[in-house]
């Protein structure tokens, strides 16, 4: 039992020890939030830098929304993007990168959708 626990901890340590990769925003990011009415919501972002713009997809799938409006300010690693969903709702995210050197770095900031705002934290998967 102890050996299994030790092996599990070692595996976890190895997994979290993965190092920084190329462009810091590239990858898949998952954010979770709970609204005031208790409802739970998960938002997934796929981000990709093509050398000129930061684009991506919010919630990939049949209702996924593509965008090419990402902006990164390396001075403070602040990130923002705007998009319109298929229901024509405006979405804006203002956040900043944390744990820059880690594989599982995070984006935390304010998510504004359809006029309502909430704080959210995305972790890179």
């Amino acid at each position: 039992m102890r050996n299994t626990l030790f092996a599990g901890l070692l595996l976890f340590a190895c997994a979290t020890a993965n190092a920084q990769e190329g462009f810091p925003l590239d990858g898949t990011w998952r954010g979770e939030t709970t609204a005031s009415d208790g409802s739970h919501r998960t938002i997934v972002l796929i981000l990709q830098w093509d050398g000129k713009v930061i684009g991506g997809t919010m919630n990939p799938g049949p209702n996924g929304t593509d965008f090419t409006t990402g902006k990164l300010n390396p001075d403070g690693w602040k990130f923002t993007f705007d998009l319109k969903t298929k229901k024509n709702e405006a979405v804006r995210f203002d956040g900043a990168l944390g744990d820059l050197g880690k594989y599982n770095r995070f984006l935390s900031g304010k998510w504004t959708e359809n006029g309502r705002s909430f704080d959210i934290r995305f972790v890179r998967e």
Partner: protein, 257 residues
């Protein structure tokens, strides 16, 4: 009358002269060749030897006057922008890694050094020239004791988006006179391009030129082309020295220095 000190100085000068002349003679010895005239980048039959002693501390654009401390740390962080023609994000990330004492260096958890960092890792490199199959194998003693293949059969370089990305890329090569020119694409982003923390993306293309200018000296030049990370292609160059003997066995182990 010559004093003892003078005699010592004369002797010292004689030794220095002898060593210098010997080194110069060795350095000027012509590189060995195959029967068809192709330069041998590796040892002659019956000989032992490999390339080592990279003549650079860290990766920096040729012609730039930047001082590195051992390990790739800049002596003056204000010189960071001189190291390469960075895009703004890449410069900020390079500075972060420099100021963070490289704690996230993938090599600290025994991940491969990737290319071109592999060519700066002590431990040795050999070139196995397979003229029958038109391939060149590079065997590395440093880093993760791995190897890479350079296809010399005239095939086109792979399209980066269509291959599984690797640490050393997928390379095709050709001879331009006595210079081996290898073009590599298909890199993953799980390594740093240098001990100093140079970043890159999957868009990286490396063009390497290997030239054995003498029996003892291998000139190495690399052109880095990654438009997502750098504003223009740039070059770096250094030399490796021929070392007699066999590469020593070494393996990366985490948790040990």
């Amino acid at each position: 009358m010559m004093t003892t000190q003078t005699i010592r100085n004369v002797r010292l000068m004689a030794v220095v002269l002898a060593v210098s002349c010997g080194a110069a003679m060795q350095a000027s010895a012509a590189p060995p060749r195959f029967a068809n005239g192709t330069v041998r980048l590796d040892r002659m039959p019956g000989e032992k030897g490999y390339w080592d002693g990279p003549g650079a501390v860290s990766l920096v654009e040729s012609g730039k006057q930047v001082v590195f401390l051992p390990g790739g740390k800049l002596k003056n962080i204000a010189d960071a922008a001189q190291v390469a023609p960075f895009q703004p994000w890449a410069l900020a990330l390079y500075k972060f890694r420099q100021q963070n004492n490289f704690v996230d260096d993938p090599m600290k958890v025994c991940m491969g050094p990737g290319n071109p960092r592999q060519m700066m890792i002590p431990g040795g490199v050999r070139f196995i020239q397979d003229n029958n199959y038109k391939r060149m194998y590079m065997i590395f003693g440093g880093g993760n004791r791995t190897w890479r293949t350079i296809y010399m059969d005239g095939r086109d370089p792979p399209v980066a988006e269509e291959v599984s990305a690797t640490f050393l890329g997928l390379a095709v090569g050709k001879w331009e006179g006595d210079t081996l020119v290898a073009t590599s694409t298909g890199f993953n982003t799980r390594f740093w391009m240098s001990n100093g923390g140079l970043p890159h993306t999957e868009a990286l293309t490396l063009t390497e030129r290997f030239k054995r200018v003498s029996k003892e000296v291998l000139e190495y030049e690399v052109t880095v082309d990654d438009p997502r990370t750098y504003t223009r292609p740039w070059k770096a160059a250094w030399t490796l020295r021929w070392v007699a003997g066999d590469m020593e066995e070494q393996f990366c182990e985490t948790g040990r220095e």
